[in-house]
Symmetry: C2
Subunit: 762 residues, 2 copies
């Protein structure tokens, strides 16, 4: 029997058994001798000056080993990139949101630590606070950070073409304003860090981070250590979704307390801390004006985004830029103006979350496109196909589309879901809607490169160790990277041991974000595997007196290319290299950095070499009495380039769609004067198994010329079309367009009532 191919096949997650049986060790499963428990005291005020922090009483509690506050730190700010760094591990002079870190305690157990927290006396001078970007931008509004005027911490203006001319040349111009809500990542694993400092002052931190090398840099910087003095190890991890992209109080305080006490210190956030004092998605108001010819050809777009950044920048100023490429990379048009403002408020901090700054903009664009089609009497699929970006396109902002399955995705999903026969024909209360999306495979966000690297070393039996700095945050990169190595060396993925994410051990990788792992780390891993393969074939060729070029590796053997004649077993070749008088260990090394031409000054060019596309169709049922929406089915056509592991792609699609569903209908942090009113899974609702419809995934696989075996990254893309597809289906069901997420029953009922009023008084 021919063994299944290592790539293009449904290889079960290599770490699946460990995970489902509980054998996998997550950070909170780790324990070190003498380990202390850390807890953090947080600001109860949205904006206040710290007059004093008195830790005397807290320090006296039996079992307390250390109490630290801002004065015990170096006061070094961290953040994404230089002009935007504004955050401290522990607040020094001011607190800026409810949850800001003020002090931390290490004690022998949790109860003791909590008792000590209560005894820390903080004297605050309350300051006026501001809770919306609109207010915050007003002259005279309370200023959050001394170095930023008007609280506008990031502003972007991208002109392309002549947008006013574009509108003049359009037959119709549409204007709408959309809003997204306060979404958070909802990782099943809460934020956790375990830090230990050795006698030389060298720090080791075990942590559920997505970006071990970036994490190391930030931790070293804020603690005043050289990089070489910090080691970051990522154990098994229960989800990232952008939540663990930055160091947070949990990490900084665990490390500081470990250094102060000389003991290992573990801090785990409780769910309330995760909800209210970690990170959340940037809520956006998106004003979108589109000019279009009467045949549906898009001509011009003007988009203005106003983002509530919360108290600190995080990655916010970069996030708001991504809406521009979301607009220009999906549908063609000629004239563009994009303005975005990232504004400080005394709300909790926002930062990256799956979809980055694209979700709200995509919701706006694909919702408005349905309105355009409707008002011009065009078919929603047709208008998308007419304007769809195609392979070979160079977009308005310079992105080069080397592979593009957008039109095919639209066609496939429309056909497979019976879109055309159902659209408008499902009766009142039921409807169907379509939307599309696009996403980068990697991006240069905070450093001028997008690099990854890998080592591959062969054992004498042909099995392999792959060393990669890539963090598997639960998405399955371990399996996919093993598949790449396995295919290249002609072995099975189960024979590849993946050592991932230990900054001392594994080669450099920027981290897991921007849907970059399969594409960027995949190419790096492939380069390392090919390097190993080259070495191996050279030895085999020498032994066989053949040309290395005439040989290939497959089925655990060395073959003459194009023949079924196995010349040597793979292990024979490794042994011929290493266990001969030659003594040559097979050690591959590889790195990859896409040679992109993106210019951050003018924000033009390709941010990556590959873009994934997709289209989704949602079918919904709206309860006209209660306003409740049920998604009956969801079809997702996904351009993933070559599917290295179709099952893993489906998993990403299902996860993304489910997250999109949550944002479309349920999820929202209810805020009152900076306070999160629903910081628990009892009150913040995410889709449960009963809410998630059957998700049918249709893979569209245009081979990407730059991807590893043609693959692209699809971690984030599937989440984008879901909100507008559902919103468009709701319109089809009840004839109202909801422009604000989440689409709650209240909003439905209010819209239905307004429509009714309009209906009776035309």
């Amino acid at each position: 029997m021919t063994p299944p191919s290592a790539i293009g096949s449904r290889v079960p997650a290599l770490d699946g058994v460990a995970k489902v049986t509980g054998a996998a060790k997550f950070t909170n499963d780790l324990s070190l001798p003498g380990m202390l428990v850390g807890k953090i005291l947080r600001s109860p005020h949205p904006h206040a000056r710290i007059l004093s922090v008195d830790t005397t009483q807290a320090s006296r509690v039996a079992g307390v080993r250390a109490v630290v506050s801002g004065k015990d730190t170096l006061g070094i700010k961290y953040g994404t990139i230089d002009p935007f760094m504004d955050e401290l591990g522990l607040a020094v002079d001011k607190v800026r949101y409810i949850g800001d870190e003020v002090a931390a305690v290490a004690a022998v157990d949790e109860d003791t630590a909590l008792e000590a927290l209560k005894l820390i006396r903080v004297e605050y001078e309350l300051l006026p606070a501001v809770f919306s970007p609109e207010e915050s931008m007003q002259p005279g509004a309370p200023r959050l950070h001394d170095h930023v005027e008007n609280n506008i911490s990031g502003r972007i203006l991208i002109p392309a073409g002549d947008v006013e001319k574009g509108f003049r040349e359009s037959d119709h111009v549409f204007e709408d304003t959309f809003r997204s809500g306060w979404i958070t990542h909802c990782n099943l694993e809460p934020h956790v860090a375990l830090a230990a400092s050795d006698l030389s002052g060298r720090l080791t931190v075990w942590c559920n981070t997505q970006v071990p090398f970036r994490f190391r840099a930030d931790l070293a910087k804020t603690l005043g250590l050289s990089l070489g003095m910090v080691r970051v190890i990522k154990p098994f991890m229960g989800g990232g979704f952008g939540a663990r992209w930055e160091i947070l109080g949990v990490d900084f305080c665990a490390a500081l307390l470990a250094r102060k006490t000389g003991k290992p210190v573990k801090i785990v956030y409780d769910r309330e801390e995760v909800f209210s004092a970690s990170r959340r998605k940037v809520p956006m108001t998106v004003y979108l004006k589109t000019g279009v010819r009467k045949d549906g050809t898009l001509v011009a777009k003007h988009c203005r985004v106003l983002a509530d950044g919360g108290a600190y920048n995080g990655l916010g100023p970069q996030i708001i830029a991504s809406g521009a490429t979301q607009l220009t990379n999906l549908y063609r048009f000629e004239h563009f103006r994009y303005e975005a403002y990232h504004v400080y408020t005394n709300n909790p901090v926002t930062s990256p979350m799956r979809g980055f700054g694209n979700t709200a903009v995509r919701f706006a664009d694909d919702s408005q496109l349905d309105r355009i089609a409707r008002e011009l009497n065009l078919d929603p699929v047709e208008i998308r196909l007419k304007n769809a970006v195609q392979q070979g396109d160079v977009t308005l902002l310079g992105a080069k589309m080397k592979s593009c399955g957008l039109s095919e995705c639209l066609e496939v999903v429309a056909r497979e879901t019976d879109f055309h026969s159902k659209r408008g024909n499902l009766g009142r209360g039921r409807g169907i809607g379509i939307a599309a999306g696009v996403y980068v495979s990697g991006s240069k966000i905070w450093v001028p490169h997008d690099s990854s690297s890998a080592f591959v070393k062969l054992n004498e039996d042909g099995s392999v160790s792959l060393l990669t700095g890539t963090a598997d945050i639960g998405q399955g990169s371990t399996t996919v990277l093993a598949q790449l190595v396995a295919h290249e060396l002609g072995i099975s993925p189960q024979e590849v041991t993946v050592i991932a994410a230990d900054t001392d051990v594994t080669p450099f990788d920027l981290g897991t974000y921007a849907s970059r792992v399969t594409f960027i780390a995949g190419n790096a891993v492939l380069a390392a595997a090919r390097d190993a393969k080259r070495q191996l074939l050279e030895v085999a060729a020498e032994k066989m007196k053949a040309d290395p070029e005439s040989l290939e590796l497959r089925d655990h053997g060395v073959f003459l290319k194009g023949t079924t004649e196995q010349a040597m077993l793979l292990e024979e070749a490794v042994v011929a290299a290493l266990f001969s008088s030659q003594g040559i260990p097979i050690m591959g090394r590889g790195s990859y950095n896409p040679p992109t031409d993106y210019d951050p000054q003018v924000r033009k060019g390709s941010r990556t070499l590959a873009y994934a596309f997709g289209a989704q169709v949602a079918e919904v049922e709206v309860n006209l009495e209660t306003g409740q929406v049920k998604v009956l089915s969801l079809g997702a056509a996904q351009d993933c380039g070559f599917a290295i592991n179709p099952m893993a792609v489906e998993g990403q699609v299902e996860g993304g769609v489910t997250m999109g569903l949550g944002q479309a209908l349920y999820e929202d942090c209810l805020m009152e004067e900076g306070k999160t009113l629903n910081p628990s899974f009892a009150e913040y609702k995410i889709p449960s198994a009963r809410d998630v419809p059957e998700i049918r995934t249709y893979l569209v696989e245009p081979i990407d010329p730059e991807g590893p075996y043609g693959a692209k990254g699809i971690g984030e893309m599937p989440q984008l079309p879901t909100c507008p597809a559902i919103a468009n289906a709701i319109y089809d069901a009840i004839g109202v367009q909801i422009k604000s997420l989440p689409i709650t029953p209240e909003k439905i009922l209010a819209a239905l009532k307004e429509k009714e009023l309009q209906g009776v008084s035309p």
Copy 2:
């Protein structure tokens, strides 16, 4: 202030603080959740057939999780190389020494395991046993292994020249027979293994092994696993000395029990097990016949070695070969015949120990040489200098001496210890003696290569991770390898993090034995560091528009060669590579395998490319009443090539000399019918602080053309001259030559008495 050089300076052990404060974790410090304790049932008989093993009762003890015996194994034999593999993890049909592994138990605690051991019923049929090689070789002696006739498990015959002609052409011929005792390694850390099997059957073993990759291979083989299914991790380690060169019962049983129970299992040998059922040095009888001209020029040697191998081969058949090169690599002569026999007995198993098969032969050769000098009225230093091997020599067996400090060592140590003024002039009861030695730096013992490899990766601050498969077994290789990398990259050794000995993570290395680490692993590490340096200088040169050849790395910077002009900081160069749009991580890769010409068929050629030499002078005082010998001082001149870390060299010399002192005067396992009568440190005496004299080390540093910066390996050499130097000093003190180790008071008194008798009746 100029920073101290990374090499050639007394860099304190990088892991020293961790060790002396107890922060360093040794295998027995490790604990895993649910861990069980394993214990081994051993044969109480030296030779018996196993009729049955009944584990029923033992299995029923509450808290016992598994009981295994030979029938639970695959019965796959292990050992060094193919024709000599004769050992089983658990005995199947026979036991061959007191201590042979018969069964093993895993239980919740040690008491329960020990209780269960008592309940295992083993039915034996006693077999006649044999306890000396002389008896064992006799026709009709009990046969230990079916596949070996006459119990002679290894036999070596090396002719070179015409030894009979040599003797005919000699003016004098001397014949002596020497004996060495039952020495064991006496590692402070007992043998320990912790094994855990995951749900996929993948096994991880933490173990104090000297040879992680070899250990993995043997464990995989005996358990019927592929290599990729076994991971071996070496934590901090309290000494090797050859004791942890092979898998033993401790390792096999921990792994088997972990697989059987699905729980982690730890086995630690108690000191009695270490003494009587692990490994010990091969006791040898050395017959040596030397022909010499009257001017002291050596002409011919015939050496016959009879080794008591004990019940299994271990590395014995290879060990007995090394005496030949010990003889031919130190003093020149023309005709040679070397015969060696490795013979099975029902004694405990012998295998490598520091010095391999050289110690007894060197004792014989340098003792006899003193006798020759005496009887020819020659000076003991002069006769050695006259015959000393020199740089450029190709020895009788083909070894090429590319660097050789032998003569200088002899001269230096004689001068520094006032040898000539003291010799013969210290009065009765006090004496001084000299001896020399030679040792390989690496050797092809069990595979046809002698390879090591390394990865080096740079952090953005210029600090470095070095990944090496080399096991630091306490000798300090971590520090020395870090020094090499540091010097090459112009940083300090403290900035190099050494990741060592994890078969999944670190590149291949054969292990720590044959004094190979500094020379072989050092060259591999240097190759990796140079690879990284080349990459870095290319980037720096590009940035500086200079020729990479014109640049060098030092003092944490990039310099124009030969100038004090720092062109860039090192970190700037790394950042220019990685944190630029180039995104090039600096990743070095290197391996080394000495291109030696040793031919195992004829046992001729160079086993390594470098040989370390040394000479020692011992001054002793003999108590004529009690026979007790006190070593008053010991001078050691050591040719180490370039001393990368003089302090580490001194440590090795002091350790080797102390071990030699133990073998010379104190150490011996007292054996009675295969039973070790003194299996504890209370009864088996090693030198204590009070016994060890001041050891003065004189470094002789001929730059070796093949060594890393000219360095050679010196782990074993310093132990060789100590026994004959002490024996020769004893002769100088009391006029009797003791030819059997250890030189106990009883032997002294008996010899004095005999001399007295001879004196009264000439």
